[in-house]
Amino acid sequence: MNWQPVIGLEIHIHLKTRTKMFCRCEVAYSEPENTRTCPVCLAQPGSLPVPNEKAIEWTIKLGLALDCRIAEHAVFHRKNYFYPDNPKGYQISQYDEPLCVDGRIVVPGEGGDAEVGIVRAHLEEDAAKNVHLGTAEGRIAGASATLVDFNRAGTPLVEIVTRPDLCSAEEARRFLQLLRQTVVELGISDAEMEKGSLRFDVNVSVRPEGTDELRTRTELKNLNSFAFAARAIEREVERQIAIYEAGGDVEQETLHFDPGKESAPPLRSKEEAQDYRYFPEPDLVPIEPPAELVERVRAELPELPGARIRRLAAELDHATALDLVTSGRDGLYERVPGDRRAVANVLMNQFAASGVDPAAANAEELGKLIEARSRIPRDRFTEALAKSGDAGFSAQTYLGDGLVADTAELGPIVDRILEANPGQVESYRGGKQGLLGFFVGQVMRETQGKADPKVVNELLREKLRA
């Protein structure tokens, strides 16, 4: 029997608002512990939440980018549970009336587009950070003490839940790349996994190909990179298939990966049926976004990465288009004149390595440089790219006299000339060094005078010595 993976994602994105979700504390990740706190985010008795309007607007923006319907009436709920990083004893989140519902994102792929349904995108607050002491695993069980840093408490988080529409680890990886790029381009989040501003959990199950049943799923948590997630999904899919093929049943459980040790087997835990006692947050009035706001935000949306990948894939290939867009270099690509393939290759390789900000690069001059790259020595070309973001950058500086100096280009020509003149080669090696001029002349004729004589001389001497 053939098995089909069924994959759904739950993604958390930190919004990069200046202040927290329900108080006016500055959002900061590297400040000394507990220095960005106030009565609200410390849950002092009597403190009350006041929603961050920018965060609401940005969530609407994201919802529109994900083709969601923006609710006319959305409600904050309290999710009740005890944990030291949860100062109020409840998290303000959204439950059955989220801000954005029923969207989709089209993920372009080599084998065609995949449409991934978005169940919802809602706004909530992040928890504080627990630091458990006296335990190797960094878990609360067995800890001698737990310290809590409330700087992160109450920072705005958007939770995006997809439908289980993804059919492979690779598709999940591409979806995440595209979503991340979308969020970054909307300017609402850094979405950096290393900083924790993008986190996600994966739900995985498998089913016989051609059916639409939904079997028991497992949840994969603490995946620290897209690539690692793809590998973990693949392994989990294989594990589940093996269980079914051996006549067994998959158990519902959560696999907690260790972000520090990819090779370590995940810890497994049974899903406890937690009762969060959700109820509408009585300290906040419902969110009713005015239609004008929604329409203004919609009108401000830029062309989204998914659409650009599709457009660029038509003139390049899917992989390159995806790379250009998800690396944020496609805008530069479109501005640099010249052979499309050559421009794309340089941008994704040597230019990428230069670390120059694509937004700062001089596209016109880069075009000239790329066009002439065969006539520029490799290290000189690298140097030129590194300067391409500087003010006053001019390709001409690196084109020199216009002679071809690239040994990679001249080498084969020299070889051909030597091969075609075996007698002269023998004479030269016999002592008639004056013949060097003859060889140089032949190369110059072959290159119609464009070869750099100095480079040609060096190449010939080297090859004739051999």
Partner: protein
């Protein structure tokens, strides 16, 4: 000059200060003197503030009102020693108006109760009869004003916690329209019901204090701007006022005959002052109000009280692990009534029960609001007793939570509808004060003050407890 704190109204005290006859600090000292003299018996204050920090009439604050630098416990052991780093909005507004704080008043723990017997720091006694309770949960504020230990005070009202103790102590108490007074900095009990209210000797004092504390607060998004400025009442008649007498609120089981008599006399007085008086009905509000309240309020409380976990402030009792720390802390820190309501509330919100309990209660709340709105199509104010009984004896209802809950049966329905209610003393029954409740539509405080003031003038109630005269 000697300051008779028993008789002096806040308005009179303000006049003295304005005319330069006494200073704010002298007033403050005079009340502290009265507290030293009489509060040993009554226990209205949990603590006093010795420095007079203001320019006007001093005030007593219920101990769930956060005051920067002054311990605020909500009369719970779990908050013993907790000193807020910030002022609640109402405390800040009092400061800005120049009102120095006299101290923090006793209350039922987390405002859960109707007698102030649920305080973790001992009950407050009724100044009219120290064998009796002052009502609750704002019993400390009510007793302080009645016994001349404060010219005025702030209480909080969730199910009747301003109106009922005002009634039992013979003073004036306003529960404002939900959303007119900021809850920022008020230790939360039930967020969708909690409102801070003025507790005073006279209706004019009440309006003066309401004017200081009311109005939109950007820190509490459930607040609104007042549709019209607060007017200090002058009129002594009730011409053009249509007074509705809801049958169920006036004939409810358990209303004492002496209470009924005093209230009926006051209704007759309304007519004499020129009001048009008629009967009306609120059948479902009274039938379901109490049950509905005891789902909504505990549900919200179960969540609001979750922050008392021993992690950041207040009591902590260590345990072998974090769960044990939570359990030991909350077991030692909360009294029986908060525990009872946390359990009720957690149950009402739990999966599978939410729709039948909390969800259903919210629907009933809408019905109650609609029923009141219908009554206000024909009447401007609705009237009834505030409490079915006069002050009861300490311990009389302490062992029977349900009997205690019934103390609020007449105040709860309009609270569930978010409506303002004013309680004024309307006479005595067996030597104990009876409260008269006036309920109006949303934002009708000015009308309630006008009606209350006219009645107050006509009744001529002596607010000084007989035994202290």
């Amino acid at each position: 000059m000697t300051i008779d704190t028993l008789r002096l109204t806040a308005e009179e005290a303000r006049g003295l200060v304005e005319r330069g006859e006494v200073s704010s600090a002298e007033l403050h000292a005079a009340y502290l003197g009265a507290i030293a003299e009489r509060d040993g018996e009554l226990n209205a204050y949990l603590r006093t503030v010795d420095e007079a920090d203001g320019t006007s009439v001093p005030i007593a604050l219920k101990d769930l009102i956060s005051t920067r630098g002054v311990e605020t416990t909500a009369a719970s052991k779990i908050l013993a020693g907790y000193v807020p780093v910030y002022d609640s909005t109402v405390a800040a507004r009092c400061r800005e108006a120049g009102l120095p704080v006299l101290g923090k008043t006793n209350m039922d723990e987390f405002a859960m109760g109707s007698s102030t017997e649920n305080s973790a720091f001992g009950p407050t006694l009724n100044p009219w009869d120290p064998e009796r309770v002052p009502g609750g949960s704002s019993g400390g504020s009510a007793a302080a004003v009645a016994a001349g230990l404060a010219p005025w005070a702030l209480g909080s009202d969730t199910g009747g916690s301003v109106k009922q103790p005002a009634s039992l102590c013979g003073i004036v108490g306003l529960r404002p329209t939900y959303g007119t007074v900021s809850r920022y900095g008020i230790v939360a009990f039930a967020s969708s019901l909690d409102q801070i209210g003025p507790m005073t000797k006279t209706v004019r004092d009440n309006a003066l204090l309401y004017r200081i504390i009311a109005g939109r607060d950007p820190s509490d998004t459930t607040t609104v701007e007042l549709p019209e400025p607060v007017q200090i009442p002058e009129a002594e008649d009730l011409k053009d006022v249509r007074v509705g007498v809801p049958h169920e609120l006036n004939e409810a089981h358990g209303i004492e005959p002496g209470v009924k008599e005093a209230v009926d006399r006051t209704i007759e007085l309304c007519r004499e002052l020129g009001a048009e008086v008629g009967e009306t009905s609120l059948p479902r509000s009274v039938d379901y109000g109490l049950a509905c309240y005891y789902l909504v309020a505990p549900a919200e409380a179960s969540s609001n009280l979750a922050r008392y976990d021993g992690v950041r402030y207040g009591l902590r009792v260590n345990g072998a692990d974090v769960r044990e720390m939570y359990e030991k802390t909350r077991d030692a820190g909360f009294g029986d009534e908060p525990k009872r309501r946390i359990m009720l509330g957690a149950y009402a919100l739990s999966a599978g029960y939410y729709e039948a309990y909390y969800g259903q209660a919210q629907k009933v709340r809408t019905v109650i609001a609609q029923e009141h709105a219908a009554a206000f199509e024909r009447f401007d104010v609705l009237v009834s007793p505030t409490s079915p009984t006069v002050a009861f004896k300490l311990g009389e209802k302490a062992e029977n939570p349900l009997a205690m809950y019934l103390s609020d049966v007449l105040t709860i329905p309009s609270n569930m509808a978010g409506l303002p209610g004013l309680s004024i003393p309307c006479g005595l029954s067996d030597g104990l004060p009876v409260g008269f409740q006036l309920i109006g539509p949303q934002f009708s405080e000015n009308l309630l003050f006008r009606a209350g003031h006219a009645l107050e003038r006509a009744i001529g109630f002596d607010h000084v407890p007989e035994r202290l005269r």
